[in-house]
Symmetry: C2
Subunit: 265 residues, 2 copies
């Protein structure tokens, strides 16, 4: 089974989608075969990788309701070794629909499991070695499904006061999912995003987070970098849009840290 990482934080706008796209691209560049699952009804990860609305015939909603398998839903992107299961707005209807069923929390996990055998390439090796799940800004059914299906959670954290406030709630939710739904769930790490070392508040928040979470926080912090926010309007990851910019360099370093930590799990 591939390693499955949820990219989650209920605080909005902290860089979940940007991290999923660029970390996914960097991992693919190192030779991993990566699948991104866009589990946000906004569909930003799909758009940020150039999958236009018309091309999203099968989506992550179809996975949750069991209508399609992972292999059927995955589409190639312009990035070698990187595929995506796109999302469509009907994903927003999944919550009222699935809360009424008794196994709502394991829908995604089952769809990943179901495909492991047929998910082999022609040479018998697994089609994907990593799955990254881009979560919406909430701790509801979609994010719980992602965590229940994951080996670990990767938490993007903006160095702002409101973003720090939600951290303990997020850690509590991870503990609850581990105790009730998925005993193997761990924290892969916390990545500081949009970090501006000239901003006193950011420096203060970063110090607080490192004091609170210790070595769970990656050494690599992603700097605020306008090239990162420009890239999605071209349907490209920052690493392809501008390989040499500070943002791309940081995501490539982050990929190295993630891979080195994976060895310890």
């Amino acid at each position: 089974r591939p390693r499955v990482l949820s990219v989650a934080n209920q605080k909005g706008g902290v860089g979940k989608t940007t991290t999923t796209i660029n970390l996914g691209t960097a991992l693919a560049a190192t030779g991993e075969r990566v699948l991104i699952i866009d589990l946000d009804p906004q569909g930003n990860a799909s758009t940020g990788l150039g999958i236009n609305r018309a091309a999203r015939r099968i989506s992550s909603y179809d996975l949750l309701i069991g209508r399609s398998s992972l292999v059927q839903a995955a589409v190639a992107t312009d990035v070698p070794n990187l595929s995506i299961v796109p999302s469509t707005p009907d994903l927003a209807g999944a919550e009222p629909e699935l809360y009424a069923t008794d196994d709502w929390a394991h829908r995604l996990d089952r769809s990943i499991d179901a495909t492991i055998t047929p998910g082999l390439g022609s040479d018998g090796s697994p089609l994907f070695t990593y799955i990254l799940i881009d979560c919406p800004p909430s701790l509801s059914l979609l994010t719980i499904n992602a965590m229940a299906a994951s080996d670990a959670v990767l938490v993007p954290l903006q160095c702002e006061f409101f973003a720090l406030e939600g951290l303990s709630q997020l850690m509590k939710t991870v503990d609850q999912v581990r105790e009730t739904l998925n005993p193997r769930l761990a924290i892969q790490g916390v990545v500081l995003t949009m970090f501006d070392k000239r901003n006193n508040l950011a420096v203060q928040v970063a110090a607080d987070v490192r004091a609170y979470l210790g070595d769970k926080v990656y050494d690599t912090a992603i700097p605020r970098n306008v090239r990162i926010s420009e890239a999605p309007s071209f349907g490209q990851p920052a690493i392809i849009y501008d390989y040499k910019c500070a943002g791309s360099e940081a995501y490539l370093r982050l990929a190295g840290e993630v891979l080195r930590r994976e060895k310890t799990f």
Copy 2:
């Protein structure tokens, strides 16, 4: 009945809470009697106005399940003429719980209605003249409840590519709520937030939004201003934390525009 405005946008981190707190404070400064309802389980509006966790005995969750009235739940803040119904993490449990009921969309509207008569002050005038509802970053049950209870929606919009992408989905949702739940629902306006005129992408997005939405977009744009992001860590609105900063000036100007538009409804 007070005028009820929902501050909503499913895109995360665009300035919903910051706008609710600072616009609420500015409206109160002009003499309006303002109530903020914190409808986000994160509780950032409550924290940003200095209501600590222990003081949140009755919350917006109690309104939704009909356990308390608006008047019982409202607590004073340090800002004159500004009260808040705080939120607690159990609000996150409202969605699975209430989706199962048949009138889940009108819960908040009913709790506002129920208090209008007892919501009179000793001199017979209404306790509140404006209610602002801070919505979570999604278009699910909590935000639908807010829109069903509102006269109009005020949309904070960050001048970034991903934030622009969600705008048409948001407008569609407003139309759907108007057609099925609340015929009076209008768009009060769209406010550009964290606007940096030196950033080409921001200037481009702002031009696109004004071309698409015309005079629905307020003349006042809120600049990116570090004092705004520092204020919540002191439990104060920016207008109280630093009255003369560019952010405070912008929110006071926005309050003037909102009030002038209200006359046209």
